[in-house]
Symmetry: C2
Subunit: 221 residues, 2 copies
Amino acid sequence: MTTQTDGRLQRGDQTRRAVLDRAVDIASVEGLDGLSLGRLSRELRISKSGVFAHFGSKEELQLAAVEAGRKVFVRHVVREALRTRPGVERLWRLCEDWIVYSRSRVFSGGCFFYTVTAEFESRPGRVRDALVETHREWRDLLTRTAEDARQLGELTSGADPALLAFELRAFLDTANAVSLLEDDRDAPYAMARTAVTARLEALATPEAPRPWTSGSTAPTA
Amino acid sequence: MTTQTDGRLQRGDQTRRAVLDRAVDIASVEGLDGLSLGRLSRELRISKSGVFAHFGSKEELQLAAVEAGRKVFVRHVVREALRTRPGVERLWRLCEDWIVYSRSRVFSGGCFFYTVTAEFESRPGRVRDALVETHREWRDLLTRTAEDARQLGELTSGADPALLAFELRAFLDTANAVSLLEDDRDAPYAMARTAVTARLEALATPEAPRPWTSGSTAPTA
DNA sequence: AAACTTTACGAACGATCGTATTATTTGTTT
DNA sequence: AAACAAATAATACGATCGTTCGTAAAGTTT
């Protein structure tokens, strides 16, 4: 119609974005229940009701935070990997980018989804449903990429894509958890990297590309 | 000394135990912050101040819950394994018992420590410190057992005990998380079992005992 | 039985939670 | 300038939180 940019909506989007930015970071430390409208409004110097009005309920805020976290995750972990050739290379790239994403503390509490998924795993509700869906996407991406790799002849025909995806996820998630818990930003990620590449190397065919042998060490965050 | 059993202390211990029993189970679902004295007192039909008096503060209740959870964990996962011969057999037994412990839902939210460790990983304080210590014990137990196995000649000399412990923990924790999230009590644990035995098989020397071959499922060719 | 200890209760406190209502500011449309 | 729309603020509500205090009940010691 008429308005190219409605300054009101524009302002609204901006604060909404600011709220969610802060919300996901808090939630990565304190969880989505630890999030409180009061704290959020205090830190952002916005009225509590102002924050509230943007979402209508705390649950909606939590759902919006999950979606916001998802976007950050895609930007840091998935995006570049999808530009990489399918198969082992992409699989390795996903793991590598995940490690950088966790290690560089994109969220101050480490992987946002690790924290909030552990929080809502056993609690029915819409937030859990949203997290289940996000988790399913991530799992399927890893599994399909492993399937691609096998079909391309880069993984031995005996390799089980679902199992490999499970193992890789396990290494990544555990590196995140151990790093935070032991306050060590090196060893856990190094172990995860070693475990990941060993697993890929063990299943790779002779013809498969081996991106993990290219440099000495991968770029640090 | 006179009193063999002071009825007052005895009664106190009993309710304290009842409180902690309920507390760890709630915390395995809702976290240690989700725990509330009000809810606890309501469910146990004890006055809120009565519950409170046993611990003196919420933080002390949380610390007591961690200790209570530790005892349950030892009873279900560590105890029998320590009666098993050191080395690969014990290592496998630890994993096996961990899987049963998680899968049988000793805590209704799955592994108590998975939930509450994810909750406090990034939050300084005494609760976190206690969880770090518990985690360190578990990590060291796995690592030392792997070292034993290597020294006994049951694992190849190239095997890295710390790395193996990391990988095993990763499989177990992830099985717990995925099982709760996907509401599947079979597949994730089956995957973890496969991954664990494959890892042990890959590192085992020809002379090593292979307790995982005694049952129904055989290692993949 | 009196003195004392320990457990448990009941009521209340101040703080904070999420939420609802009503008003004000800011920007757009006519 | 008037009418309108959207974002933000001010205020208050009921519920729940962790905690404190004073007291009653149960059990032990003297």
